[in-house]
């Protein structure tokens, strides 16, 4: 399979068989792609662990009632739903924060805050196929529960950035916003309830044209109107907080600006402000998020690599009133970004070890020794006859009749096990 990227079409079509179909929007991960997906997931979870986040695994299935307590109708409509034996409804999870919140409110009830928890696993969406969007995706994320301060928000942003860096995703841009900025602006804009809902709906739909239409003929103040209309451009470094601050008099949006200024300070101490943009017009799920929010982007991809924010109301839905913040990273999109960024398709490099007749035991012992030293070895299942004197191909080694070990590994060529181990160390550096 590896190395043979091209399939024999004539042979494939001769074997027409409907049993070989695969559901739309789902993927098999094979060879280098599968390897990359695994190493990216591991890099994320290792980073989370390095920051003190405890790994937990939650089920792929949750009762629909549990899901409904945490996520809005929009996401619920996108879930695979089915019936349990007793007739109650179940769903395949489309995100895992709700599951973590359920665990925190049940098994982990009474644990000393703050709780640092992380997870990695697949999520599923029952979107119509053919849209080019995945219906199964790997997600890894963190939840920091029981701390209401901006230090917790900043830590989440820093962990997410560190995880992407460790996985080798470069050119990441972090957009930091605040879930209360636009709603507080709407509340201070002197709109009647119906207009407010129209403007909020248009902002939620990312439809600037409709925002303009909805604001026309309302009593909205000039500063608020201008800020709401400029929402995609309310973006930049620390300075935009001052720019926006000069135009706003109402205390609530001003408090948001002060929060973001403080958050910027803490992010500076984490050393990541170079990649951070403050985005006052960030359009996020305002019913769910309650404080700072963020999204991670790569120039190589049209979708966010990850997203997060403060969600102080969710735990209450499960009977535990605790502030919380967290984020999720989309492993598959990160893999896409890695592939597009480097164009390199990676390589699975296990060393193939062949041997002459009568040398099977020796070869087995050698393979064990190499594996112990960290070299992946695929040992031939049968001895090779009559290939003496031929050169070995890259990624292969051969134990000859006379007991000599010839190898080519990571572009180097040599003989003897010591030299091979040295080459491995070189390559790893």
């Amino acid at each position: 399979m590896r190395g043979g990227a091209c399939l024999d079409f004539a042979r494939m079509s001769a074997l027409q068989n409907p049993a070989r179909g695969r559901a739309g929007g789902f993927a098999d991960w094979i060879g280098a792609a599968a390897q990359r997906r695994r190493t990216v997931t591991e890099a994320f979870v290792d980073t989370f662990a390095a920051w003190g986040y405890e790994y937990l695994a939650t089920p792929l299935v949750e009762p629909l009632d549990t899901v409904a307590a945490g996520v809005g109708g929009g996401l619920q409509a996108q879930l695979f739903r089915f019936m349990d034996a007793d007739g109650s409804l179940l769903a395949l999870v489309g995100e895992r924060t709700v599951s973590v919140a359920r665990v925190v409110s049940t098994q982990l009830q009474g644990a000393q805050p703050p709780l640092r928890l992380c997870y990695a696993g697949p999520v599923l969406f029952n979107r119509p196929p053919l849209g080019g969007r995945r219906r199964e995706a790997m997600q890894a994320g963190c939840e920091l529960i029981g701390h209401a301060g901006l230090a917790a928000d900043a830590e989440c942003i820093a962990v997410a950035a560190a995880a992407l860096e460790r996985a080798g995703v470069t050119g990441v841009q972090i957009d930091v916003g605040h879930a209360d900025f636009v709603p507080s602006l709407l509340d201070s804009a002197n709109l009647d309830a119906a207009s407010r809902e129209r403007v909020a709906g248009a902002l939620r739909g990312r439809d600037l044209v409709a925002v303009e239409e909805a604001l026309r003929g309302t009593e909205a103040g000039d500063a608020e109107r201008e800020l709401l209309l400029a929402f995609p451009t309310l973006r930049g470094g620390r300075e935009i907080l001052d720019t926006a601050g000069t135009r706003i008099g109402d205390p609530r949006p001003r408090r948001v600006l002060a929060d973001l200024a403080e958050l910027w300070e803490v992010l500076g101490r984490h050393g990541i402000t170079a990649n951070v943009h403050l985005d006052l017009g960030a359009v996020r799920d305002w019913d769910y998020y309650t404080g700072p929010t963020f999204e991670l982007f790569s120039a190589d991809l049209g979708f966010p690599l990850g997203a997060g924010g403060r969600y102080d109301r969710l735990l209450a839905a499960f009977g535990t009133d605790a502030p919380a913040t967290g984020f999720v990273l989309h492993v598959d999109r990160c893999c896409d970004a890695l592939l597009r960024g480097s164009g390199e398709n990676g390589k699975v490099d296990a060393l193939r070890l062949g041997y002459s007749p009568g040398r099977a035991g020796e070869a087995q012992a050698l393979a064990a020794r190499l594996r112990q030293a960290g070299v992946a070895v695929a040992l031939d299942l049968e001895p090779a006859i009559g290939n003496r004197g031929e050169p070995v191909v890259d990624g292969a080694a051969r134990l000859d009749d006379d007991g000599a070990l010839l190898w080519r590994y990571r572009g180097e060529e040599g003989s003897g096990v010591e030299a091979l181990l040295a080459a491995r160390t070189e390559g790893a550096r």
Binding site: G131, G132, Q173, D175, G205, R206, D207, L208, V209, A210, E212, E213, P232, T233, R235, H277, D279, E295, F297, S298, A299, L301, G302, F303, P304
Partner: protein, 243 residues
């Protein structure tokens, strides 16, 4: 790729106006005629592709293009996760409920059960729901006006610019269900990772559109000076209407 934005333009009725707008705004000097033989043209400032109107939101949402121009009517039917940045004002048309002349519905009385033929099931559903009417929708792919005459449906929900096609098929407008003009849409990530370029594009197009607009009150109504979406361009064969 970083040399310029990647823009998707809709083939069909909006295409020439879209090309002209990009040229007038100084975004990309392109001539609609050049797309006769190729679908992708790279200029020093932008790479422009011509795709079917319904495919514009797909290219933009998936990040294959940073931004695109598309009719609002297309966005009704393919809700995609994009930013809608500017009303470009050309390609104005209306979505209307129309019924055969002399029918109950044409006189403003809604029968208890109603079948409506449409190419716009999502927009039509939203319209009827907002009125609280239970209507059975029949999705067609073209020549919707024919459906009442052949007994397939009691009425139609369809796009009209001049009303000529409706009249020619003995249909009268009962109510307006929506108004459409061309829009500038952008990919979510492009608005962040290429924000300067995308915001400049939006500003340039907005300026050009505003400068061209005669002082007509309201923005979304069809202005007389605009080359209205021709009714004759609607039947089958036009890339804009076959889905």
């Amino acid at each position: 790729m970083s040399g310029g934005l990647r823009l998707a333009l809709p083939g069909g009725a909006l295409f020439e106006d879209a090309c002209r707008l990009l040229s007038d705004a100084g975004v990309a000097d392109i001539d609609a005629g050049r797309f006769d033989r190729q679908l992708r043209i790279a200029t020093p400032t932008a790479t422009v592709v011509k795709v079917r109107p319904t495919d514009v939101p797909v290219y933009v949402e998936m990040g294959a293009c940073d931004a695109g121009i598309v009719g609002k009517d297309i966005l009704w039917e393919s809700p995609r996760d994009c930013y809608e940045l500017v009303d470009l004002r050309f390609g104005a048309c209306r979505l209307v409920l129309a019924a055969p002349q002399g029918s109950q519905l044409a006189e403003g009385r809604f029968p208890q059960s109603l079948r409506a033929a449409t190419k716009y099931p999502i927009a039509a559903r939203r319209f009827f729901d907002s009125l609280g009417l239970a209507v059975e929708l029949i999705k067609l792919h073209g020549s919707v006006e024919l459906a009442p005459a052949m007994g397939l449906a009691d009425c139609v929900v369809d796009i009209t610019a001049t009303g000529r096609t409706l009249t020619a098929n003995h249909l009268v407008e009962v109510a307006e269900a929506g108004r459409s003009t061309a829009r500038l849409i952008s990919n979510r990530a492009s608005l962040k990772t290429r924000s300067e370029a995308v915001n400049q594009l939006a500003a340039a197009l907005r300026r050009t559109v505003m400068a061209a607009a005669t002082p007509v009150s309201g923005t979304s109504g069809p202005a007389a000076s605009e080359p209205a979406l021709r009714a004759s361009a609607l039947p089958d064969g036009d890339p804009g209407t076959s889905r």
